[in-house]
Amino acid sequence: MKFGILVNEGPYQHQASDTAFNFTKAALDKGHEIIRVFFYHDGVNNGTRLTTPPQDDRNLVNQWSELAKEHELDLVVCVAAAQRRGIVDEDEAKRHGKSADNIAEGFHISGLGQLIEMGIKADRVMAFGD
């Protein structure tokens, strides 16, 4: 089955990111296809490489990056939601005159159209959040 994954909450504050990650990994292990993981609302906070949790805790951002590398996952962070919350890549940083970018490896910033397209292409969209 072709799944689209929507993550609507930030990491650590809310378990939705963990559950989305575990679901994505389990689906891939079972041979399903993940056509995209789309991060919206506070979910965009999954995509900052500045995240530094205590060493004895999971590092969700790194987990996503590693899973993306392993399975060539399309991790998309919504641009409008990201701008509000200070998640920027190199281009966005330049465009808005910011001194640095913080997007994590394997993530990229794109528009809400990617969410709709995911809904059209996927057999099923799984949303994680409240």
């Binding site: 609507n8 919206y40 939601a81 969410l115 809904g119 059209i120 969209v125």
Partner: protein, 136 residues
């Protein structure tokens, strides 16, 4: 389902201010309108407050985005289902809601109301028919 048109339902469950879900949910609907899918919106629970008439956010320093709902008709988003039970539980009726309309191109561009009041059972049936449900 291939290249066919899908049915998208956007379910709004939260009050317009206090959290960003309503505002960002509306942004999805407006962008999604460009994709020519079959679209409807649902307002349940505190989500019915999103459509309340006469919103004034001046003193709370929040952006009043309620005028944006008026634009939905121009985006061919003209099925806004409001749950009757949610209205009643909050002491509200259809008279408390924005008057939202669209021009029906299949009926000589007659202006028609976009808001339809449905009960919980009817809403469950509608949800059953959808391909993609996004809720905020």
């Amino acid at each position: 389902m291939g290249n066919g048109v899908k049915k998208f339902m956007y379910v709004n469950r939260r009050a317009p201010y206090g959290t960003i879900y309503a505002l960002e949910g509306l942004e999805v609907v407006l962008i999604g309108a460009a994709f020519d899918q079959e679209v409807c919106m649902v307002f349940v629970d505190d989500g019915v407050f999103q459509l309340k008439k006469g919103q004034d956010t001046a003193e709370s320093n929040m952006k009043n985005f309620s005028p944006t709902y008026r634009a939905l008709g121009d985006y061919d988003v003209n099925k806004l289902y409001v749950e009757k039970e949610s209205l009643e539980q909050r002491g509200m009726s259809e008279d408390d809601l924005l008057e939202l309309t669209y021009e029906d191109e299949d009926d000589d561009y007659k202006e028609k109301p976009s808001i339809r009041i449905v009960n919980r059972e009817e809403l469950a049936d509608l949800m059953e028919q959808q391909d993609v449900i996004l809720n905020y």
